[in-house]
């Protein structure tokens, strides 16, 4: 699918794009020898929907001042943002296999200084939602209509600063802010239920004054309609609790706690991870091997 195909939604095309991006995410993480695959794969439909169906952006002008912004607060999911931005044409696809390599512009955690299209450096968990609040407030002060999206992790929601920002956004009625929680119910050391139970998560956000949507985070139609509803909310910020599957689309890691970060020691292991995608694509870059 080309970046210009934003208008017409054909489910089969989007399914195909999602499969391809999952394959590339798997390949570049394997090429790097390790990486946060689980939390990247769980966000594929969400990022495609945002960048191809919702957000007003100009890949040829990444710092266009009226653009919609995304703060990927769970910055360790960098690879899914990179494949999406490359697909949109923000930078050459040849950059993708440089993930984490010496001198790369695609570090493991997203970096506004390094990567065209990344709107805020993030990766130390808990910090991004505050930054997104600042950008949303700036848009209001600028009297602009651009929207600000922020993706936080479920495990990240253990951080106290998330709730400082939650209170702030509500108090200042930041209705141009839409947050999405990637609720795959897993964090590094186990399930969120085991490590730090978030439930009742929707009630928490409601209690903090947010409009809350609780949805399937992989369903194209539901994602699209819900994000649009969230954008339309007036007088308060909106939270979309997106129920996702960590590691989705890769049989070796799907729904496994160990998928947070994989080690890929050799070519054999790399091939196994690619096979686990259940499909093969010609890679849009040369590895120079």
């Amino acid at each position: 699918m080309s970046a210009s195909a934003a208008t017409a939604f054909v489910k089969e095309d989007y399914d195909e794009l999602a499969r391809k991006l999952r394959f590339i995410i798997t390949d570049i993480i394997c090429g790097a020898g390790s990486g946060h695959i689980g939390g990247a794969l769980s966000l594929v439909e969400i990022l495609i929907t945002l960048y191809f169906r919702i957000m007003s952006v100009r890949p040829e002008e990444p710092r266009w001042s009226d653009r919609d912004r995304l703060v990927l607060s769970k910055g360790h999911a960098g690879p899914v943002l990179y494949v999406t931005l490359a697909e949109k044409g923000y930078f050459p696809r040849e950059w993708l296999p440089t993930l984490n390599q010496d001198g790369t512009r695609l570090p493991s955690h997203v970096d506004q200084v390094q990567t065209p299209g990344v709107d805020m450096t993030a990766g130390s968990l808990g910090q991004g939602l505050s930054c997104a609040c600042g950008i949303a407030l700036a848009s209001r002060l600028n009297k602009r209509n651009n929207r600000v999206f922020c993706i936080i992790g479920d495990g990240e929601s253990d951080e106290g600063q998330v709730w400082e920002a939650a209170m702030f956004a509500s108090h200042y009625k930041l209705d141009n802010l839409v947050a999405i929680c990637d609720y795959n119910r897993m964090q590094i050391d186990g399930t969120t239920d085991q490590i730090m139970d978030l439930e009742p998560l929707a009630d928490k956000w409601k209690a903090f004054g947010w409009e809350v949507f609780d949805i399937d985070g992989h369903d194209w139609d539901i994602l699209f309609s819900t994000i649009n509803k969230a954008v339309a909310v007036k007088g308060k910020p909106a939270m979309i609790i997106a129920r996702t599957v960590k590691g989705k689309g890769n049989a070796l890691v799907e729904a496994k706690v160990g998928s947070h970060n994989i080690k890929v020691p050799d070519k054999k292991s790399w091939d196994e991870y690619l096979d686990a995608c259940g499909c093969r694509y010609d890679l849009p870059y040369c590895r120079g091997e």
Partner: protein, 335 residues
Amino acid sequence: MAEGMTWSVLDGDKLTQAEIYGQVLTQLGATNPRLVAMTADLAKSTKIGAFGDKYPDRFINMGIAENSLFGVAAGLAMAGWKPVVSTFAVFAALRSAEQVRTDICYQNLDVKIIATHAGISFGQAGSTHHCTEDIAVMRSFANMTVIVPADGIETGNAVVAAMDHPGPVYIRIGRGFEPPVNTTKDYGFQIGKAVTMKDGKDVTLITCGVCVGQAMRAAKVLETQGLSVRVINMHTIKPIDRDIIIKAVVETRRIITVEEHNTMGGLGSAVGEVIVESGKACAFRKLGVPDAFAIVGYPEDLYNHYKFDADGIIEAVGALMKKEIEEDENWDDET
């Protein structure tokens, strides 16, 4: 210099550093339409509230949430605004160190932090409200500029200068009233350029913040004892004025740093780094809080207790003058 500034040197005689800061910031609001002021429930204590009274639409109170305070500031700066953030030094430099480092300094954002109640200026409040570590923390962040004004007049100058200085700036001020050391505001304040408050040839006191006044008082007494004491106001800790330090080493051979901060990591360490790298030897001492959590008490009493008030400086100079310095006419052979 910004236009429309009506504050005067006379304000220094009756206002605290923070009061002058609040007044100057409010005046800057008229000529800086992108300026937004932010605090975390310390509008009154830090005096940033004065700006909020005049420009309520450009004033953001976060509630007691310092981590989010600096994150929101980063977001505002990323979208083209110029946030000025005030809270107590201990919260800015310690609680929110990571937000200041990553959100603001790493991305080199145009955020100005004016931190009050620094050092042991709120000594009676106890260790939770002391901050003798902020200079060390802030100067270790790449892209950060660190300024410690000597009095209210210099605070006004520093705030004005910071507005035109790109990137993050940390300005550290105290809590209460300190007698001014400057008699005019037009002494050519420049970030990174130290001020020689008094020339001298026997020993140099390099100091910052409220300690400049203490050093000046000490120098006057020492003059009566026949000693010629140079006093340097190193108001900018980073970038530090290397030339003025090396000149003092060469010309006086005896250096004492005086600061309201842990002697580890602050002004003394910064000056020491310059001296060591210059390869030029001198007798050297650092006065301040000697790598300890300060005891509780009124600031003046604590300055005396830790021997970095005028009396303590006089004592330290006396001890340092007894050190024998090897004469060396040829400095050029040292690297």
